[in-house]
Symmetry: C3
Subunit: 338 residues, 3 copies
């Protein structure tokens, strides 16, 4: 699709400087801009690039003052960054706007599906599943029996949703993610040998949750594993049975949360963090990369590091000395000699 500077300025309520008829078909970074692309300038560190970018259109802040000639058409807006973000979003919506039910998909007779859904090839919907309006189910997705998928939710290619899972509205789940697999609980003491404890709970995912690729969220043994409204997960995250993650908490890649732990609201966990089972983590807790939490955190809004994790400030100080342990031991040896 081609858009003219005129059309884009109209969408963004911007003022044009230069050729209003020039057209673009893609978005680019200003330092990599090619002919036929639109870019933006917001960070002053990138101002240098505007004078020789090949981008055909550049969105700039109202306050921008050029100090040399610019070949690109400019569109002036209040905030170039947020205007460009709006364009990205519109572009994405067009790109992802799939609709229609493929004849090569499978819908159980007892399942119900809403209006205007997309069901891709080789996707499967199980018995009594309930699919809302505008849901996008990409090829090779599996939705088990009795699962519920809310309006406007997108399941990318190959997502696997086990039976009984409930997913809210406006969620996005990326390829390869598995929701509702059995929790890791066994009764090894049983006389019949290592015996599986049946996992008959489910997973509940509230509205506006996004989950990255190749995550694994286990169902509860009994009751529900719950991701609250607005939770965002990066890729390759493991959530064990009966865990609850509070509203708007963000977990980065390769996090592991063990069974029955309750995480508060607005938490931010960096990559490769681990949290052991049966803990309570207070709201607004921040965990730095690779930390491992072994005790409940009761005070809100603190930052933790290390394995086992403790206050990040103390960790940083201790680590400075750790790096220098050789020197510390030399000082002791020195003292002993005296």
């Amino acid at each position: 699709m081609q858009f003219s500077a005129q059309q884009i300025a109209g969408l963004l309520n911007g003022k044009i400087e230069g050729d209003a008829a020039v057209t673009v078909s893609k978005l680019s970074k200003i330092e990599e801009g090619e002919t036929g692309s639109i870019s933006f300038l917001s960070n002053p560190l990138y101002t240098q690039y505007i004078y020789n970018t090949n981008a055909s259109i550049v969105i700039v802040n109202d306050s921008f003052i050029a100090t040399a000639p610019i070949s690109a058409t400019l569109i002036r807006v209040e905030s170039a960054q947020s205007a460009f973000g709006k364009l990205l979003e519109m572009y994405n919506q067009v790109k992802l706007n799939k609709v229609g039910i493929s004849k090569l998909g499978f819908i159980s007779e007892t399942a119900s599906v809403g209006k205007d859904i997309y069901l891709g090839e080789f996707a499967f919907i199980g018995e009594n599943a309930k699919i809302g309006d505008n849901v996008k189910i990409y090829p090779q997705v599996y939705i088990g029996d009795n699962a519920v998928i809310g309006n406007n939710t997108t399941l990318f290619a190959g997502v696997k949703i086990y039976s009984e899972t409930i997913i809210g509205k406006d969620c996005i789940i990326h390829s390869g993610t598995v929701i509702g697999s059995d929790g890791f609980r066994f009764a090894p003491e049983n006389e019949e040998g290592n015996r599986k404890i049946a996992q008959i709970g489910n997973v509940i995912i509230e509205d506006d949750v996004e989950i990255g690729a190749n995550c694994a969220i286990d169902r509860a043994t009994l009751g529900s594993t719950i991701l609250r409204k607005g939770v965002k997960f990066d890729n390759l995250i493991h959530i064990a049975h009966n865990v609850e993650v509070g509203e708007n908490s963000y977990l980065a890649a390769c996090n592991v949360v063990a069974g029955s732990t309750k995480i508060g609201k607005n938490c931010m966990f960096s990559g490769q963090v681990g949290v052991v089972g049966h803990l309570q983590i207070a709201d607004n807790t921040i965990l730095t990369a690779q930390s491992g939490v072994s005790k409940s955190i009761n005070k809100k809004g603190e930052v933790y590091s290390g394995s086992p994790a403790f206050e990040a400030g103390k960790y940083r100080k201790a680590f400075v000395h750790f790096r220098n342990l050789e020197g510390i031991v030399q000082r002791i040896t020195q003292l002993e000699k005296k």
Copy 2:
């Protein structure tokens, strides 16, 4: 399905107190019990909930003595916990009792399949594969050429089994798990550039093994990567080429075991543990979360922590001092001043 207190008491050899005709259709926790559900009371800490639960039936120990009126029907059994576990299991068996070969699945002409199998939509069985009796193959599963799947094994939606893999009886493999991908071995010194070493071994999984979601178990370069009888894996575990995991060893989420390492029997590894290649790990070894093993462990039944890992007791003591390194250095400075 609805069951009466009468029917359930019959199954569990229990004695009824209250309305024997009341029916239930699901299982619940006593503190969350709704009308129409059955729950149990075993842990004395939860006794308070029995007096106002909405669960229609509660299974209790023979020894339970009520100290206030209870509206639910009680079923008295020797052990409420194990009776409830039995119910969970029966419920699960009914739920997972899929049978039949979908016309939308694909079975190679040269493959053989046993009695009473389930083959879901868009599942694939390759050439010369041998599938046992009562095997459950969920939608979108891939079983490569010459693979063997033993009786009563379940492969959940989207499991990928590469060619030549051998899986025993009574195994459970969860969605997204990949068995038999190539080991990570290259010959960088080769004059033709970085060259792949062909991986032509396979993976052997013995009986009664359970593997969680999104794991990756590589085939051997030559010979076999082996998971022995009774091994249990959580989610997102990586097992490299030619590894062997001994009987009844349990690995928690996000474990990484590098090439050719041999792990003994009855080991217990917590989450995010790493073990480097070409090691021997003794039977009954316990590794705490996030530990990293860099040397063989010869003594059985010990506990290790840290990265690189050493005795857990020593690690705990060292870590107490690590947290206080700032204070330790101050003591040294103090001494130096004197």
Copy 3:
């Protein structure tokens, strides 16, 4: 398939000692060799096994001198190891030599496919996708709109390639891996609540790249996430948006590289390594297992350990003292008493 010693010696330019008519159908380790298999002897530590192996044929170095009778047919070559590697490779090529387009696969009308491709059952090729010659697309693979797959590339069962992804020639991608999922970027400060930043860049994978099972490589927010020529990935690796991995760098299992980080050429990262976002990592950098890099590395060819990582030599020394912190504190207490 059966091959005689005569045929194999012909392939390898070897000299036969013993029965040239004996046939084999598989490859084995010398210490596990069964009748009908071919093995090799290169490492002198294994010489003992040649005198009682059941392998029907053993490839040996020209220089090998037997000190006892050997029942197997010998094939003498310059280097037994590289000759055997050549056999492995030929065996693998035959095994993986699938060709043909299944009627149960799906190719969009606007997609183009090259010569002699393999398209397995339930595989999906989206709109305007371009598939090169000799590409192998196993069952249940998903290739999104506008994706490009170069000649001779293999995508194993269930690989998911999002739209706009570009993959070069001679690549291998293992099952469960996801390429092109959205980057983990949100604008939490937005007045409309936590808001997704549209991810409209793509992933570019150059020639001769191999990626293990269940990895997740995110698309760029804008521009491209790039894996350069010859990059090799083990399983379960996370690569965030806008990352670039330099030529011939090797990442072991469960690595995590956060957003916009640039990794140099010929790097070697061990298992469970993490690298935070927006860093530069110099060429030839080596990271030991479980290390966590928090600052750019400018000096080429160095080795780092720890979390946060620093020079590996210093880490090892510090860690020796860390293990003995209890003893160090006792020395201080001793000094204080004096």
